[in-house]
Amino acid sequence: MKGKQLRPKDTKRTLIRLFSYFKYNRALFFGGIFFIILASIMEVGINGMLSPVIDSLIGDYDKSFFIKYLLIMIGMMVVVAITQYIGNLSMAKLAQRTVHRIREDMFSHMEKLPVSYFDKHSHGELMSTFTNDVDMLNQSLEQSVSQIIVSLVTVVGTFVMMLILSPLLTVVVILMLGIMLLSVKYVGKKSARNFRRQQFALADMNGYIEEMMSGQKVIKVFNYEERAIEKFNMKNEELRIAATQASTYGTMLMPVMGNLSFVLYALISMLGAYMVMINRLSVGNIASFLQYTRTISRPITQVSNQLNTLFAALAGAERIFNVLDEEIEKDEGDVVLVEDSEGENKLYWKVPKEKGEYEEIPLKGYITFKDVDFGYEPGKKVLKNINLYAKPGQKIAFVGSTGAGKTTITNLINRFYEIEKGVILYDGIDIRRINKHSLRSTMSIVLQDVHLFEGTVADNIRYGRLDATDEEVVEAAKLANAHYFIKHLPQGYDTMLTVDGQNLSQGERQLLSIARAAIADPTILILDEATSSIDTRTEKLISEGMDKLMEGRTTFVIAHRLSTVRDSNAIMVLENGEIIERGDHEELMARKGRYYALNMGTLELE
């Protein structure tokens, strides 16, 4: 993990994009801003009332004026409270709704991204965009936006009032504010630099801890603890220094600004007093002016504090938008799967012809690869010139070392990836013409690392077909040999699985995923066999389950164990993306080539 970008690359674009989200809640946005501005103006006004109130006390005391001014103040106070409540609530609602919408957009976009996107981006990276970046944006929208508006209005309003009260004193204020701004800039720069350093140290630490903790058991076995601590301490110290410095500068701003404003307060008191003496100003004017010098420095501190977070949030927003701009999986297929018009439970491909006519081709499970080339990156071919066919109900096995391209072939059939050259036909139809939803609804895959979902065991099996009845779920489990172990779980089919089914063993998860595939009743089955760590007995249960599942379906097996390959209709031996041998078991053994060597144990399979 590298240190994150703290500033957006294109601030303007990101801002415009962000603002476009407000269009869904226009009333909240404009209403919120209106009330916030109104509240700020009123606050400036209340402080301004000090001047006439105090002056009405001095000299010719007029009680009716005094009471009148106080009543005005009370009125203003009520307005401030109400407008502030409405304004802040609107902004908070706006922030929540916007973030809610962004989250929803991101999730549904994520669901539509092609599989290749997830190869290129780590889960951690995406997760962090989803959580940290969205969170940061939420905070900023909720606080920074309204605070910046309040600050701006307060500064402008205060200036106007100051000018009205005394232009000369205002000049002093401006000079002092100049000094304040310079110190904000200086401290802010230092703080930003150290903040970056802290981020890097934190990322470095994060990576180190993650790696070491993942291998913690190895550390124990090797008595490596002390050496691990030594290295950790170095990184910890670097992080401590960086964090200390970053936050020293970060928190320094408050006392610096607060006290500079007191210096200003002192200067105004002196100068103001002199001007009262020469009758250029009233005591009430000083009172208001002094109150203003206190209020004008606060917005500056706040804005400068907010600015760093705001930029970091915008950088996060930019990352969010980058995800949203990723091209989604295309699906231009016009061939869809339909049920037979005669009401029998047979499925047909509905292939559009010219002039609105359709051809109906029955779904059988015939797969043909013709001269297929494929590469994950352009120019780097992973599969070269693949030709093969599978008749309905046949079992095709792929054998070869890691990286030979076995998994890749199966990923092309369900169009997780698009081929570069050649064509793949499904019942004679180019799969690129088939609507992806229809295509995938006829296939099930059983992957080697099984992923299960939070929910009950039954929910997980039903994932294969959402409208399956309880009986059908049990049926599928029985077929997959999973019924026995499920019945022995504490709550049977209603047992809750933790995230990714961590409370089940590897073998049990495998059995569940077979049941899940079975309930979908697919025409084509893709099996990625589990590698090691499953014992022979469970393995036997699994392979029995798989055998039952394969009956009558076109099956592609990515084989890691040769014992399961023997009864295949055809075995493809892959090397470097090419099929180097093909045939059934007997033919290949007789040929005494690569397959023979693998079987005799003189070659590594993995």
Binding site: L50, T244, F262, D500
Partner: protein, 574 residues
């Protein structure tokens, strides 16, 4: 929190100085409005310019002193806060290094990482805030109240109404908000969980066409997150208006009562102005306090997560007078039973066997027959529940853990390599290993044949987790790493599953011929990996079914025979 405080020791100086400086800053700041009232009431009244200048200069100096102390307080606060965080982080890391396997099973890696990074950081930040804000607010309040009393004790009565009102309002809002925030956090967790789930299982989602189903699941959680957030926020939004009402009502009341005193001549107008400044400061201090409490809430969650780790005791305790010498590599299990900490049933039941030093023992059996559990008891990765395990004739609990684990090399099932060069990885086994020793070990593990082909040789870079090696290569490297320890006992837990049979056979031969004195225990799925062992132990559901030679077991162990037959089929001509 009390548990963590001792870790402040190293930075105690700063932890003490920061609040002191803060108090000094408050003192310097609090005088200023009072001085201003002197300028108005004395300076202006007497038309005394030099008095105004004198008092004004004192004000400026006072502000500058305040600034200096403020900056010092910031610096000390940051040092104390983040020093404290670093100390805790170090303690946590040490603690995790101390964890037994049972402890490690309990915490996931991401949860440990979060605790060491985010939680420690939060603690550092909150500590820093506490040292400054928690001191500033009450002192500001006390001093300002004191000054206000000095100016005009009768006007202070206004506070008798406004302060309790503010406290009650703040308490109601915050106490209502707290449960909502906790609920909010759990809603956030639910949203994150489903995202994580979809990220890892995206292929499953896509192949089952479940995108819109997942979207509707997400929508439900996302909606409930927003609704909870809105509820919490609409409470918090009350804070500012309430505070403003209190502040301005107080000011207006002071103007009303004070104004009449000014007219009567018992109070100066400058005093009235400074009184108003103090009101603002006192009530602001309250706001600061409530903000601080919200921060504390955030911090307390982090503290409890951190303390949870610190309170986790490793079950593996060293003997107070541990033995450092291990005489030989014999292993004895005497009536051993074992139960995992959280499970109800015994995983191992009444295990009895003895291995001579230098013997090669194969272990085979189905998953769940507890082969791994059995061997983990030898280097004390877990402690037995009943009975005893002895190495070299002495109970393993009598040895120092370091001596025991240095002599018992364990190649784990999930073997990991670490980012760094191959040489660095090999040195895990022996810190000062020479290249010759490393090459020797690599040769024994049949890894030298591919390592020698690298241009960089031992400097070849290993990616995190050893991802740039194939499964079989990784297994051979981890065996070599274990061999470098020159142990008396070596345990291979399914460590050659991905190695081809020919190479596997070569490794077996190396163990038999080159490492005669080393007791070798091999867990395997493949009969071929262990059939030439001196003896083979067949495990079944936590018990020893049979122990004997390959030929004998074929005759008298039905399980062994079944496994053997099922594997023979796969290999034609064997």
């Amino acid at each position: 929190m009390r548990k963590l405080l001792p870790h402040m020791r190293k930075y105690i100086k700063f932890a003490v100085l920061s609040p002191i400086f803060m108090i000094l800053e408050v003192v310097a700041d609090i005088i200023i409005p009072y001085l201003m009232s002197r300028i108005v009431d004395v300076g202006i009244a007497n038309q005394d310019v030099t008095y105004v200048l004198k008092i004004g200069s004192i004000m400026v100096v006072s502000a500058l002193i305040g600034m200096t102390f403020g900056v010092l307080s910031s610096h000390c606060g940051a040092r104390a806060g983040f020093g404290f965080a670093a100390e805790i982080r170090q303690e946590l890391y040490k603690k995790v290094q101390d964890f037994s396997f049972a402890n490690l099973d309990k915490f996931t890696v991401p949860s440990l990482v979060t605790r060491l990074t985010n939680d420690c950081n939060t603690i550092g930040q909150v500590t820093m805030m506490s040292l400054r804000m928690a001191v500033r607010a009450p002192f500001l309040m006390i001093f300002a109240l004191f000054m206000a009393m000095r100016i005009n004790a009768s006007l202070v009565r206004v506070f008798v109404v406004s302060i309790p009102f503010l406290i009650i309002a703040l308490t109601i809002i915050l106490s209502k908000a707290r449960p909502l925030f906790l609920k909010f956090q759990s809603r956030v967790d639910r949203v994150n969980a489903i995202i994580q789930e979809n990220l890892t299982a995206i292929r499953v989602v896509k192949s089952f066409n479940r995108q819109s189903y997942e979207e509707s699941r997400f929508k439900e959680r996302n909606d409930s997150l927003m609704n909870t957030a809105l509820k919490a926020i609409s409470l918090i939004v009350f804070l500012m208006p309430v505070l403003n009402i209190v502040v301005y009502s107080t000011i207006i009341a002071v103007l009303w009562f004070g104004g009449q005193q000014v007219v009567a001549g018992t109070m100066g107008s400058g005093e009235l102005i400074s009184f108003i400044t103090y009101i603002t400061q006192i009530l602001m201090a309250f706001m600061m306090m409530s903000f601080f409490f919200m921060q504390l809430l955030r911090g307390s969650a982090s503290v409890s997560r951190v303390v949870e780790i610190l309170n986790t005791e490793s079950e593996i305790k060293e003997d107070p007078q541990p033995l450092e010498e291990i005489s030989d590599g014999s292993v004895t299990f005497n009536k051993v039973s074992f139960r995992y900490p959280l499970s109800k049933e015994k995983t191992l039941k009444n295990i009895n066997f003895h291995i001579e030093s230098g013997e090669i023992l194969g272990i085979i059996g189905s998953t769940g027959s507890s082969k791994t559990t059995l061997v983990q008891l030898i280097p004390r990765l877990y402690d037995v529940t009943e009975g005893s395990v002895s190495v070299g004739g002495v109970d393993v609990r009598k040895y120092s853990i370091k001596a025991l684990r240095d002599n018992v090399a364990f190649v784990l099932q999930n073997n990991t390599l670490f980012s760094g060069t191959l040489r660095e990885n090999m040195k895990w086994g022996k810190e000062d290993a020479t290249d010759e020793e490393i090459i020797w070990a690599l040769k024994q593990a049949q890894a030298w044949e591919f390592v020698s082909k690298y241009e960089e040789g031992l400097d070849y870079w290993v990616e995190q987790g050893g991802d740039n090696f194939s499964g079989g290569q990784k297994q051979r490297l981890t065996i070599a790493r274990a061999l470098l320890k020159s142990p008396k006992i070596i345990i291979l837990d399914d460590s050659t599953s991905a190695v081809d049979m020919t190479t596997d056979a070569k490794i077996q031969r190396a163990f038999k011929e080159e490492l005669k004195d080393v007791t070798t225990i091999i867990i395997a799925q493949r009969v071929s990996s262990i059939q030439h062992a001196d003896r083979i132990l067949v495990m079944n559901e936590g018990e020893v079914e049979q122990i004997g030679k390959h030929e004998d077991l074929l005759n008298n162990s039905p399980i062994y025979r079944e496994i053997y037959e099922s594997q023979k089929k796969g290999v034609v001509g064997a």
